[in-house]
Symmetry: C2
Subunit: 141 residues, 2 copies
Amino acid sequence: MKKKRVQEKIKARSVPFSQTRSRHASETAEDYVEAVLDLIDEKGECRVLDLSRFFNVSHVTVSRIVKRLNDADLLYTQPYKPIELTDKGYKLAKKSKKRHEIVLAFLIKLGVDKANAEIDSEGIEHHVSPSTLDAMKKFLK
Amino acid sequence: MKKKRVQEKIKARSVPFSQTRSRHASETAEDYVEAVLDLIDEKGECRVLDLSRFFNVSHVTVSRIVKRLNDADLLYTQPYKPIELTDKGYKLAKKSKKRHEIVLAFLIKLGVDKANAEIDSEGIEHHVSPSTLDAMKKFLK
DNA sequence: CATAATCCGTAGCCATTGCTACATTTATAC
DNA sequence: GTATAAATGTAGCAATGGCTACGGATTATG
Ligand SMILES: [Mn+2]
Ligand SMILES: [Mn+2]
Ligand SMILES: [Mn+2]
Ligand SMILES: [Mn+2]
């Protein structure tokens, strides 16, 4: 086969990797808004240190990310004040949480023990296309 | 509930995130050795530019990562020479490829179209515990 | 063998996400 | 109210993975 053809064939396989990188780029935002939603729900408010404990990272890491998500209009933060979700952040949180719950329930129904299902679903949720999510929903019914 | 108890409860939920970060840290190595294995198999040899096309990133990004994986004893590289796998790299590649194939076959059997299954499995493969992999294997039988 | 094309390395930039150390603000306790 | 504790912010470092620009090495072409 011609060299060019071989190269094009190789390049054609790059799509899943580009997509995976793109999904990883949105992962932090999704996990953070979901965490803020949960923490407000369970604790009444969400603080930097709550997120720091929730993710097991330093408060500095959280503080920087929260600032970026504030700039992205996903949440609202003021110095030394609790963190709140914007409308946009709330919608993303609800959608991410729903998807996460489906993935978790799916794994459990598939026969995975709860501990592993919780661990695996935390990563898998960000790599599930609408098509795959549909297939999981059908399996759950 | 006491404040301390609440904080411990929050901290307890951090395990999946720590695990997910750890898995993302091994993802590049897994994808690269798998790619080297495939490219040698299909093209006869694996070059920096092959990987650059395969992943759709610049040759500089590939070159830096290849150097790190060389230091980690996963592959063997010399300037301007083709890239080869070490024993350790070959073993990791085989294992990763096997797991990837199972995840892909699983998604297809679940009813996901091939294009989405290929995209999603590229990310999901790195978040599948032995427990989940077993469940997928059982489902395939 | 000389020239052109291709491949690859290096320098240097940016963004993200992890960290420790230290400063400042806010809340709690006395 | 003041001292202490807790929470948060800031400075600055490292690793990783993107990039462009440029130059040197290798290979192909004539
Ligand atoms: Mn989640
Ligand atoms: Mn997650
Ligand atoms: Mn992958
Ligand atoms: Mn992932």
